[in-house]
């Protein structure tokens, strides 16, 4: 992949532009030089050479030491010819502006050190070719060398950034591919687990046990998949909000079914954690008191500015009066604890139960958008 392609396209344009400017400059001073005929001829050579170089260097495979060496050699020869063609000590040389072309190219190609070398070389040759010129023109040499080599500094930096970005893309692509493969593998595992669960039940007690195990793993894997998919929902969305859907999904198990809307249900993190804790408590209570075969269902809804969470089980239930008596005897039951949590959130909780009818909770919590 040619990271420098856009830079070398700009460079090609610059090179031709410098040559055109050189042609202009040389034509205006044609009358003052020693050998005008040669001046015209060499100026044409400068222009053609600039175009050839620009085109050749567009191709990454042509950017080799030999190419730049030839380019540099040509520039040096043309500069030195000034001694004979122009015939007196007046910069610039015959190559004039085009003298910058090779050092800038080298800088782009190999960084500032090589650029510095090339520009020193061209600059010194130019100084020699116009030896004896006025001291006021000397600072030009410094500016020339500095400008040409600093281009290299920028490209070195750019090159590093670009290659780092390339690496990051590669890593991201590899991760995406792994995710895709993982999805395929996971789907296969889910299919087999579901099959074991289905068929196991008809194979006697050991089969039932197997089916139970398979179901647990299936639920665990499915929850994990919904939780960690690369662009899927995450519980913490930013610093301040959490996706309550994902938090509640974690409670899904063999005995607990969690139903949530599609998409994220964003709630302020602290509130989300409190709601989740209250749901946890209700579910712990189901596991403790509802009986071994009890199933529980959690339903999350959003109604206007409120979050509604319902938790129902089909367990043994209880006599509501027993709850109140426990409280009056000074025992803080789960019920009080849940009611307290919900009150602190500015919400409310209601509970219905009867012997043999399970327990049904409904939480309502206001949330601001």
């Amino acid at each position: 992949m040619d990271l420098l392609a856009p830079l070398f396209r700009v460079y090609a344009a610059l090179r031709v532009l410098l040559a055109v400017a050189t042609v202009g400059l040389n034509l205006t001073r044609l009358a003052t030089v020693a050998r005008p005929g040669w001046m015209v001829g060499l100026t044409v050579v400068v222009l053609v050479w600039a175009i050839v170089g620009a085109v050749v260097l567009l191709r990454p495979s042509h950017r080799r030491t030999s190419t730049f060496a030839v380019d540099l050699g040509m520039t040096v020869v043309l500069a030195l010819s000034s001694v004979w063609v122009i015939g007196y000590a007046a910069p610039p040389t015959v190559v004039a502006f085009s003298a910058a072309a090779t050092p800038v190219g080298v800088s782009l190609w190999r960084g500032w050190r090589w650029g510095l070398g090339a520009s020193l070389c061209v600059g010194l040759v130019g100084a020699i070719a116009t030896w004896g010129s006025a001291p006021s023109t000397w600072p030009r040499l410094l500016v020339f060398v500095g400008a040409c080599s600093s281009v290299g500094l920028v490209t070195s930096q750019l090159r590093q950034t670009l290659s780092e970005r390339e690496q990051m893309y590669a890593v991201a692509a590899a991760m995406g591919e792994r995710q895709r493969l993982a999805r395929v593998v996971h789907d296969g595992v889910l299919q087999v687990l579901a099959m074991v669960e289905r068929e196991g039940r008809s194979l006697g007690p050991r089969g039932t046990w197997l089916a139970h195990q398979a179901h647990q793993q299936e639920v665990a894997l499915r929850t994990l998949l919904q939780d960690t998919s690369i662009d899927g929902p995450h519980d913490i969305v930013d610093e301040t909000h959490a996706n309550l859907s994902v938090l509640l999904d974690r409670h899904a198990s063999v005995n607990v079914t969690v139903s949530t809307p599609a998409g994220a249900v964003l709630v302020e993190t602290q509130r989300a954690r409190e709601i989740d804790a209250a749901v946890s408590e209700a579910l712990t209570n189901v596991a403790r008191h509802a009986g071994p075969s009890a199933q529980a269902w959690v339903l999350l809804e959003r109604e206007g500015g409120d979050i509604l969470v319902s938790i129902r089980d089909n367990g043994v239930g209880a006599d509501p009066q027993a709850f109140d008596e426990a409280v009056s005897r000074g025992r803080m039951g789960t019920r009080q604890s849940i009611l307290g949590r919900l009150r602190d959130l500015g919400g409310s909780a209601t509970m219905h139960t009867a012997p043999g009818r399970g327990v049904e909770w409904e939480f309502r919590v206001p949330v601001e958008e």
Partner: protein, 238 residues
């Protein structure tokens, strides 16, 4: 051989009973073991498996060729995925009865399939009897809801209502009874239990669920049409 004779017996019985349920079934699942297991069970129950497919492409061509009355589709199949197949096929054959099966329960895909017109959704790990019952009910044109699906659909209606209010137009409205029924389904109550609790007949509960699905699908079409009009309008403006 056994399966065959069993089937013909079941078919004969069905015919004798004058049953009108759809029987020509197509199965779409990329796992051969599932195709086999489901085929056996459904054939034993009197269904006729007219085609099976393991990829979306196969599903499309074979469904067009065999025109099954009932389709049981796994959502996770090679391109195009199950939900897309359902969208395409229900557009071509609106009377087809589709039951969605899925191992991983990707919410958005399930919702997409239901909005496109699928009759119901079951997790693959459901016990065989439940699966069979699901296909039977689908074949009779009834909706098959899990608590998870009810929660999804409830959420979707709430979303659509909020959107409609924002646009100041008539949104898809559920009656309070329909919402009540849907919430009870989501809380894990069986239709029978819901009927007891609301003191209505089992059939009434079934009808409510059916209506909810119909409204969801109808509104999905309206939303799509509105979207298309909006897009066209913008293009015309430019």
């Amino acid at each position: 051989m056994r399966a065959l004779s069993q089937r013909s017996v079941a078919e004969a019985e069905a015919e004798a009973a004058g049953e009108t349920r759809a029987r020509r079934v197509m199965l779409v699942d990329d796992h051969p073991m599932w195709l086999e297991a489901l085929s056996d069970e459904l054939e034993a129950d009197g269904f006729m498996i007219v085609a099976t497919a393991q990829t979306g492409r196969e599903a499309l061509t074979r469904a067009r060729a065999t025109k099954p009355e009932v389709m049981v589709v796994d959502l996770q199949i090679p391109e195009p995925d199950g939900a897309t197949c359902i969208e395409i096929l229900l557009k071509e054959f609106p009377a087809m009865l589709v039951l969605v099966l899925s191992a991983s329960g990707e919410r958005d895909d399930v919702l997409r399939a239901i909005k496109a017109g699928a009759k119901g959704y079951l997790l693959k790990s459901a016990p065989p009897e439940e699966l069979l019952e699901g296909v039977r009910r689908t074949a009779e044109g009834d909706a098959v809801f899990t608590p998870g699906l009810a929660g999804l659909v409830l959420g979707e209606f709430r979303r659509m209502v909020t959107r409609a209010e924002a646009h100041n137009d008539m949104g898809p409205a559920l009656t309070s009874r329909e919402i009540e029924v849907l919430r009870l389904v989501a809380k894990g109550l069986a239709y029978r239990e819901i009927a007891d609790r609301l003191v209505v007949s089992h059939r009434t509960v079934q009808n409510h669920v059916q209506n909810v699905l119909r409204k969801l699908q109808l509104h999905n079409r309206v939303e799509l049409a509105l979207y298309a009009i909006e897009q066209g309008y913008h293009e015309a403006e430019e």
